[in-house]
Symmetry: C3
Subunit: 137 residues, 3 copies
């Protein structure tokens, strides 16, 4: 059972999607099982991180921007703009798929965990995240 959520483009950075995923889990009627998220892009990725203090997301964005600057003379893949190759590198360092157990129809996230779409490009493309739900037993 594969569902898809479309995340409207809103520019670079971490965008929490926990509520959208939770809603899909609820609508599916699954009680116990495994929820696997898969993002169909190579310039945006997935991350499970702290969703309590927004400073964490802010610092993550700034740290990656410093580690992987634009206009690095190392890049040869530059035709699509200065943020394109950094976006591929940032995607590489984070996740294309993550799996979260489901119990009693709830995602078993930790107290401080949220699910984020990590947009690595400045352009505001929409992004597709697939949600596979496997039911136990």
């Amino acid at each position: 059972m594969v569902r898809c959520i479309l995340i409207r483009g809103s520019g670079k950075g971490l965008k929490e999607i926990t509520n959208q995923v939770t809603e899909q889990v609820r609508e599916s009627g699954i009680e116990n099982g495994l929820c696997t998220l898969f993002i169909q892009h190579t310039s945006a990725s997935l991350l499970i991180q702290e969703n309590a203090d927004p400073d964490v997301c802010h610092d993550i964005e700034n740290w990656l921007s410093r580690l992987i600057p634009e206009h690095d003379p190392l890049y040869t893949h530059t035709a699509e703009g200065p943020d394109d190759m950094p976006a591929h590198l940032r995607s590489m360092l984070t996740q294309t798929s993550v799996s979260i157990p489901v119990q009693d129809s709830c995602l078993m996230l930790g107290t401080w965990q949220g699910i984020f779409l990590f947009e690595h490009r400045r352009n505001r493309s929409d992004r597709r995240v697939l949600i596979h739900l496997a039911s136990d037993g």
Copy 2:
């Protein structure tokens, strides 16, 4: 079927948990399927790495400590101590979930692979790792 293992706090660094996971697989009675681990934290993570030479874990810890130093003036999320924001960044670069096939009741790890809990904080909190086991057919 979700199980949970509690890892007693023991400070920063890689702590092998292969035996605890293997024991849960054995106790579950699963023969063939998929074992998915999920850590319910954002300052500790999961890693599958070489478990033969302890120097590998030692070098990994030191390399990450150098790449992501404490007291970086970039950080704004500093209220919980100098090792807090580095812990989030180290978690981002490693794994929140990993999946390992199971055959004949054994985790199909490679010869040199071990499963590690990667503690990124100096404080000695206990950590929870969920184990989802899905049986084939």
Copy 3:
């Protein structure tokens, strides 16, 4: 249902394996479900990345080589050669397992996504990638 593909050694860098994985999915007869890849090594890893412009793979390889140079005096795990510890660090920053939904017998990859084996050592060892296929319903 676990299958194994053997990737012949061909030196350092990204090697696309999408066709080999697609073939295994087709041979299995699975229609809808989840495909989980697991690499049984700690000096080679998995990555889903752009497979349209080969410059992306080229830049990824060069960027990681610069971030994680050989002969770094920090390394103590050096007995197996100068590319050994960098290989473990590169594996840590990429993936040991990835999961991709399957629908109508097709991997649901995005338009620009390919599956890559990422070889981090210069020696030309063969590598084993396990493919677990779970069928829905």
